[in-house]
């Protein structure tokens, strides 16, 4: 079969690899009909995530048709059309049973490696480094899905791939980001980053009752999307001398009730903090750039929540702990417990509460994926989201 493989920084290629096969009783094999490139795939492409190996198949946003089942999978049939959550989880451990699927105890074959770094291991993920299990991803013609009896959700009649594909990751990720804020009526939510996760965070904040959402980015077309499709008030941070004052002014002197960092470890930005981060990172003294996170903590109103769907992998520097403490902030973060949100969000799509297709800017074949990565990285051709059809 053909698959998009990682060979190093800025080097992904479509290779012919052995077909996916059933390895465990709870496995299924999916013929991939749609798969997307995620912003977090760019962290791999840019070489920010450790423990990648040459030849790893990328892709954690994929859906398709069941073509083979392991002996223990009884709830799926050959031919079923399913969406696959990007986190792999057993459904049986303490964390799965408490809807904390991204913390599954049993799905990461390289748990020991992760424990050495993080103390305790997160769940396995598709195509996202060996620290997260080393599972082959779904930017391929076929994909192996472990614990297929618990993860994938069947797609109801009448919904297209494009409508439901983002249930794999970015829609639940944006939704969890808003959910983690504990939004109350009247709340204002500020969202850093108007990429696809930011867009879904904005729309989810409204679905959860936010009065107003302020969205920030420096890319004009993403800000326009946030304004026109997601109905946010927009701020181009590059045009601001003092972002804190701007947000304070916009919120009647209170600051946003909640702040969402939908950017993560490769934050761009302006000012001294950003130069400091870039310098340290180049000198290998810090692994993650935290400009956005610092701003979110700085700008958040008293007693608010800073919710972090953006990915971090290592150490942060100049973390404004005193600011967070003084204002009594709550920080919530982590990979998405996708399985928790699959059914309710599928229902939202069915009812027409939200149409996730608005983030798609490009459709491509799998063969075009390497060009797609480059385009997505450089944000050329107004690229916000690429869907691949293998």
């Amino acid at each position: 079969m053909k698959a998009l493989c990682w060979y190093g920084k800025n080097d992904v290629q479509v290779s012919t690899v052995p077909d996916s096969t059933i390895l465990n009783p709870r496995d299924a094999i999916i013929k991939v009909t749609s798969t997307a490139i995620c912003g977090s795939d760019l962290h791999l492409y840019n070489g920010f995530i450790p423990s990648m190996e040459k030849g790893d198949i990328l892709g954690h946003e994929f859906m398709g048709e069941v073509v083979a089942l392991g002996s223990a999978v009884k709830n799926l049939s050959i031919g079923d059309r399913v969406v696959v959550p990007f986190g792999i989880a057993c459904g049986n451990c303490y964390y799965c049973q408490h809807d904390q699927w991204a913390l599954c105890d049993n799905s990461n074959p390289n748990a020991l490696m992760a424990e050495e770094l993080y103390g305790y291991a997160p769940s396995g993920l598709y195509g996202y480094s060996h620290l997260y299990g080393g599972y082959a991803g779904g930017q391929a013609e076929y994909a192996r899905v472990p614990f297929a009896d618990i993860g994938p959700i069947k797609v109801p009649e009448g919904l297209t791939d494009d409508q439901v594909l983002f249930l794999t990751d970015i829609f639940p990720t944006g939704y969890q980001a808003a959910d983690n804020c504990g939004i109350k009526p009247g709340d204002t939510v500020a969202v850093w980053g108007c990429g696809p996760v930011g867009q879904f965070a904005i729309q989810s904040a409204y679905l959860l009752g936010a009065e107003r959402v302020i969205a920030m980015d420096h890319i004009a077309e993403r800000l326009a999307m946030a304004r026109d499709k997601s109905h946010a008030d927009i701020v181009n941070y590059e045009e601001q001398d003092n972002l804190f004052e701007t947000l304070k002014e916009m919120t009647g002197g209170r600051g946003p009730d909640h702040c969402i960092d939908a950017v993560g470890l490769e934050a761009h930005g302006t000012g001294l903090g950003n130069i400091y981060d870039k310098t340290k990172e180049l000198a290998r003294l810090a692994s993650d750039r935290s400009n956005v996170l610092r701003q979110a903590i700085q700008c958040c109103g008293k007693g608010g929540t800073v919710s972090i769907p953006g990915v971090y992998g290592g150490f942060l520097d100049k973390f404004p702990m005193g600011v967070a403490f003084a204002k009594g902030l709550t920080l919530k973060m982590g990979q998405t417990h996708t399985q928790k949100y699959l059914a309710p969000l599928m229902e939202r799509i069915q009812k027409g509460d939200i149409d996730p297709t608005f983030v798609i800017s490009h459709h491509m074949t799998l063969d075009e994926a390497p060009a797609g990565y480059k385009m997505f990285k450089e944000k050329t051709d107004s690229c916000t989201k690429i869907v691949l059809k293998p």
Binding site: M1, A3, C5, Y7, G8, Q13, S15, V17, P18, D19, S20, T21, L23, N24, P25, R26, G47, P50, S51, M52, E53, K54, G55, D56, I57, A72, I88, C90, G91, N92, C93, Y94, Q97, D105, N106, S107, N108, P109, A111, L112, G124, G133, G134, Y135, A136, A140, Y142, R144, P146, F147
Partner: protein
Amino acid sequence: MTTNSTESTKASVNIAGTERWVTAFVGGGLATYGLLRSPAPGNALSGYAMTAAGLYLIFRGATGHCPAYSALGVNPAIEAEETSQKLGDVGIKVTHAVSIQKPIGELYAYWRDFTNLPHIMDHLNSVTVQDGTKSHWVAKAPLGRTVEWDAELINDEPNKVIAWKSLPDADVINAGAVTFKTATQGRGTEVRVEISYAPPAGKLGAIIAHILGEDPKKQLDDDLRHFKQMMEAGERPTTEGQASGRGPDKDQVK
């Protein structure tokens, strides 16, 4: 001052008698074995590592002080009497604990049937139960060889503890105990394993390389992780044999 220094000298001996001399002995063997290993590429590093580990054990045995025990705030010298009654006092001791989201009875029953253990302990080929309390264990050794021993059940309290000990003339003198305890509400069962072993002099090289492994603590960690995976998920997660764009060379990048 004097009193203080006397106390600190006393406190620094935190390894019990037999463990102390076995430690030094095994350390000497490891160090020698590490030095004698072929310096072929790829082997050199593990040889040095083994030598280093050996020298550490000699230090530990000679001084009666284990930095690791100190760091952990553990003083097995105090608990040695109780432990040795249960397990017999043999060489290297490793312990590990895991919480499993299953009722205590189910976990006890799985472990009590020793023939299940090769499913979770990859270094075991087989365990056969000979009669009520005796069992025969076959473990993998380098170059396709095996090491074998007979063991006897020395303690068995349903849903509480299972302990075993090798019989005289074993290739590897060893003993182990697993204890089960219901965790705090909704947290399943805590399973704690303690394993001790000491290889005899004659077969030191081969047995050390295999049974002690490069990291016995890690081996026990793996075994208990497999136990949890089998009991909770019904299978062990794997990526072995999955598709990839790797050729025969498995270059790790970054």
